[in-house]
């Protein structure tokens, strides 16, 4: 664990109106990581499959382009964003709302260990400090403070993720919100952010442009005709694809498995979704 005093904080974090007195940093990543182009990805803990997959996809695509993915190690959106970044072999920073030595939540102890091995964990609390609900808003100001861009993937009204977005807006940082179903209460907070002026996130390239990071050329794909046709129809269940495309169940299942192995789709709760923005 190293301690960084207020004067040595990364520039973006030092610039917020109430920067922490010091931060504790743990992990094998270089402390300079905290000064690199970074995007916060935050959202609901009890997220939907849509939110989970979008968070994973954004974490992966941004990290692959060299952006540091910052989040709060919570269940749901936070954890998926960290995992996506790790999956891409990129860097991700977890900001804790408890002492730097604590693994909270316990279900993410293994994830925290991988992040410590490859990147960094950050906290303004000294070792031993217990997690407490009132510390999480303060933690959110550090998440937003470290990043030029904050992305809210899914949030109910009055979600903690909206507090992170508020901090980002107060500091004049860019806020993106992932548009969602208007009938889903999990997208009520994000859709409201868009109504209030946040940029709707349509593609990860928009975030890269906002950060001034070069957008990597999309990889060329060699897909069979069945797989390409199915990709156009997502999200859908296998049964719906069978009905919509006039194919047999085995053909659809095989094509979906092919797409899944290419990490182009993911299945959750019986629904397959594309893992790329169209």
């Amino acid at each position: 664990v190293i301690v960084i005093g207020r004067d040595a904080l990364p520039p973006l974090l030092r610039a917020i109106h109430d920067p922490p007195l010091r931060i504790y940093v743990r992990g094998n990543g270089a402390p300079q990581l905290l000064a690199e182009p970074a995007a916060a990805i935050v959202g609901a803990r009890a997220c939907s499959p849509y939110g989970r997959q979008v968070a994973r996809m954004l974490g992966r695509e941004l990290a692959a382009a060299g952006v540091v993915v910052v989040s709060g190690l919570a269940r749901g959106i936070d954890g998926e964003a960290h995992r996506g970044a790790l999956e891409a072999g990129g860097h991700t920073v977890a900001v804790l709302g408890c002492g730097i030595d604590r693994d909270y939540p316990a279900v993410h102890a293994a994830l925290a260990a991988v992040i410590a091995e490859r990147s960094l964990l950050v906290s303004e609390y000294e070792p031993g400090v217990e997690p407490a609900p009132w510390r999480f808003p303060a933690r959110n100001r550090i998440i937003a403070g470290l990043c030029a861009v904050t992305i809210v993937v899914e949030a109910r009204e009055r979600s903690g993720a909206l507090i992170t977005a508020d901090f980002a807006l107060e500091e004049g940082r860019e806020v993106f919100a992932v548009p969602g179903d208007i009938t889903s209460s999990l997208s009520a907070g994000t859709n409201e952010l868009i109504r209030l002026g946040a940029t709707p996130l349509i593609a990860s390239a928009d975030v890269l442009e906002a950060l001034g990071v070069p957008v990597p050329a999309p990889a060329a794909l060699e897909l069979g005709p069945t797989a390409a046709a199915l990709l156009e129809r997502l999200p859908a269940s296998p049964d719906e694809l069978v009905a919509a495309c006039g194919l047999r169940t085995p053909e659809v299942a095989a094509a979906l498995a092919e797409l899944e192995l290419l990490r182009l789709v993911a299945q959750e709760e019986g629904i397959y979704r594309a893992l790329r923005t169209s």
Binding site: A46, P49, R75, S237, D239, P250, A254, E258, L261, E269
Partner: protein
């Protein structure tokens, strides 16, 4: 099983009201080790009124004929995986978190699917279909 305790998950006409902790507790009731032993996991949408009102589907007698023929085939000359099927299975082990048992299960299910389709060998389409029946990651 339902996807969550309140029964709202996966139903487009309902909203899930479970908290993250409640959801995790519900899913923890089935251990990963147990789920690993399931050959077929199929997500079923809540049937719509029109589907409930529809007449009976394929009679079991016809299905029985297919199953008996496949069983006989598996006992006599089980289809073997071809090269493309092997390659797909290897890729699946690398990409998905398949255990040794999981791999063996997928291989067996693929063989059964090929036998039911009366195919000469187990092809990638059979492996693909078998993979689509494994336990999705979010339940683990």
């Amino acid at each position: 099983m339902n996807l969550c305790a309140c029964g709202g998950r996966g139903d487009p006409n309902a909203q899930c009201t479970c908290s993250a902790q409640r959801l995790a507790r519900y899913r923890d009731r089935l251990s990963r080790a147990l789920l690993d032993r399931f050959d077929l996991v199929v997500a079923m949408a809540r049937p719509r009124a029109t589907e409930l009102a529809a007449g009976p589907a394929e009679p079991s007698e016809l299905v029985r004929g297919r199953v008996c023929a496949a069983r006989e085939r598996l006992g006599r000359a089980p289809p073997r995986r071809n090269e493309a099927a092997d390659a797909m299975l290897t890729r699946a082990v690398e990409r998905l978190a398949l255990s040794g048992r999981g791999r063996a299960r997928v291989a067996r299910v693929a063989q059964t699917i090929a036998a039911l389709a009366d195919a000469d060998s187990v092809g990638p389409e059979h492996v693909g279909e078998a993979l689509s029946y494994r336990v999705p990651d979010e339940l683990s």
